[in-house]
Symmetry: C2
């Protein structure tokens, strides 16, 4: 999914407006030639940034959307009435350049909290961004929305006659509850608003809501999906959801992989749960534990911290029924999993080889599986390790 094409009728761009101190591109735009139906999920944080407050109302109204304008370098969060005015003004500027209505423009912001948007820079940058729109602009947009990200993130799936493409940013303040990052996904499939909303809800649950970098839930995070129907193809709801979920999972994994200071990408599969929700909660608690995450950083097969985290997940786990493996790969039904080291069973460690367990911690991509022994449900969660670099990045973020 490295192809960075856009679905039919979409164009994108990323330009330099001078908002980022680094002088890199900081205004991105993704626009459709025709009206789109939109669906979105937003941060659950009570301290919602101005563009989130505006976006919730906009998407709630069922208003068609033509474009999304994203600035990086300033989150426009904790900025009061002025912040809302600036978000509206940004939409107006974009609408004017696009010859659309302000209500048809969705805006997003990411960056430092508590600082007002530098509107003179936005005013100059927006027309540049609109002028730069082109069908191959997704890569530029992906680069312009980066903050502490080290790599741009895009994903794309193609089906017969239609496709879904997306981009995301985020590497800190990442934790489930749709508190992940900014992401825009666009498709030319013909789908109804109801199908779009349901597909997004399900897809985000199994992707962006299953990653954790630091357990912090941000003020700005937004996932927006736009469908312009330009392909003329109408997939079934199931087909559409599968495609959207593929793109979401790819983007979510890219976000976890690029977690601030990350040196490891960790896949945690929780199986044998009573419900998917139980599996997810256990997996998220493990993914969030600083003790687990520092052990991964140290390549220490410290299984005790993993079973301990499962124990305080709030779920009714039974230590004597748990089994834990390091290494191997996600379970595929009917296929034998090789390379796994079984370290824990029946409430205590197995007679495993410490060298083999340590070996399973050496690759950049680490896989672990925890079986709860209570049922048939499962969930997979992705996270990264907790490194010295994370502390360095976040100790002096504003300076």
């Amino acid at each position: 999914m490295t192809d960075q094409s856009l679905p039919k009728g979409f164009r994108a761009a990323g330009v330099i407006a001078g908002i980022k101190k680094s002088g890199k591109a900081d205004i991105a735009i993704i626009a459709s030639d025709t009206d789109c139906i939109a669906a979105a999920v937003f941060t659950t944080n009570k301290m919602k940034a101005a563009p989130v407050l505006r976006g919730i109302e906009q998407v709630g109204s069922g208003q068609p959307i033509r474009a999304v304008l994203i600035n990086a370098g300033c989150a426009n969060a904790c900025t009061g009435r002025q912040g809302l005015q600036n978000a509206n003004k940004t939409a107006q500027l974009t609408a004017r350049a696009l010859k659309a209505k302000p209500a048809e423009v969705f805006v997003m912001s990411t960056g430092v909290i508590g600082v007002q948007l530098p509107m003179e820079k936005v005013t100059a940058g927006v027309p540049l961004a609109v002028a730069a729109l082109h069908a191959d602009g997704l890569a530029d947009a992906a680069a312009a929305i980066m903050t502490t990200d080290t790599v741009p993130k895009t994903a794309r799936v193609e089906r017969e006659g239609w496709s879904v493409s997306g981009t995301a940013k985020g590497s800190g303040m990442i934790h489930p509850n749709m508190a992940t990052m900014l992401s825009v996904i666009v498709t030319d499939a013909q789908v109804s608003a109801a199908v779009l909303q349901a597909a997004l809800k399900n897809a985000s649950k199994r992707s962006f809501n299953r990653i954790s970098v630091d357990g912090d839930t941000s003020t700005n995070d937004t996932l927006l999906v736009l469908a312009n129907g330009a392909s003329g193809v109408k997939p079934t709801a199931a087909e559409f959801q599968a495609a959207l979920e593929d793109v979401c999972i790819s983007l979510a994994q890219q976000v976890a992989r690029d977690g601030e200071g990350a040196t490891k990408f960790i896949t945690i599969e929780v199986t044998g749960a009573k419900t998917e929700r139980m599996a997810e909660n256990v997996g998220r608690t493990i993914a969030k534990s600083p003790l687990v995450k520092t052990a991964f950083y140290g390549e220490d097969a410290n299984w005790g911290r993993i079973t301990c985290a499962a124990g305080y997940s709030g779920e009714d786990v039974v230590p004597e029924k748990m089994s834990l493996w390091f290494g191997g790969a996600p379970q595929v039904k009917g296929k034998k999993n090789t390379g796994q080291v079984h370290v824990f069973a029946k409430g205590m460690p197995t007679r495993y080889s410490e060298a083999a367990a340590t070996n399973a911690m050496k690759p950049h991509d680490i896989f672990i599986r925890l079986d709860l022994g209570l049922g048939e449900a499962s969930a997979t969660v992705w996270t990264c390790d907790f490194s010295h670099e994370y502390v360095t990045i976040n100790g002096k973020y504003r300076t």
Copy 2:
């Protein structure tokens, strides 16, 4: 509260049994000459260590207690049936040396998870510990229970004719839900079992349950209070609770202050809440945020991360009603608080001096106050910062 005396009729000791790799003292004992009534609170983790499982049953039975034996270096957690047998065996060995019954001996363990207790070392060490018991032994016991602690922790309050003394250990895997550490508190006050239990519940709620080092809830944590009545003085329930709370708060603060890798001790006062529980939840969420904690480490007055954490606490906070101050000291009714920098009000930053706010982050002990503007309830939470050293300590804990 630096006096390390014990209440009447109690003796303590700490000896070297060779369980810790460092060769430092690793078996502690605190014993009473006469029967004690006991109250305890235990970790809420489902993955409970063997001594916790044993202790819950023991204290639940109302059995009088004569002594508590604590080993450091091995947590006896995730050790199955063998672990329970070893906990019982440790109690038997202690009882034999003390000429008491095994059921009168409470045991605790702390250290690495998933390793069986080295029983030959415990067998040799326990009689040494009993032989070393003396009235001035609290400092030795406090040293013997340390793991990654950098300083021993004791606290004592004296009242007319009676006193309360305690010790605690813990600097990682520290987070509320009585998931804090090991602590033993002893008193010669004459109190009933009901008063003791109620006082402990209230005191722990406002002390050990209000600290956070890393958000991890351990498998072993236990707070045990023993009352032998040897003073012959019977304080009121309120007097007793106040004394116990003082000791608990002192010990809890010492634990947070000595958090793994800590370079700062942070007091977070949340005022203006609808309920104490609301204030506590908001405070705990802030205390747990890696982004807040790394900002404290970097001496960055990054108030946005604090208001953001309040926003995802799960409580119904209203950004426009919040106020945040850096610096100053806890609120005392009717007294003007000086040295505070008011950084946030009405949903946005005030026109504060960045230099003044940064200055408030410079001391080792940092104070912040968040007023929610919703009511009269308040709560204070203590935590430490998140440093490079925390990552170093926990990346290679087992090696």
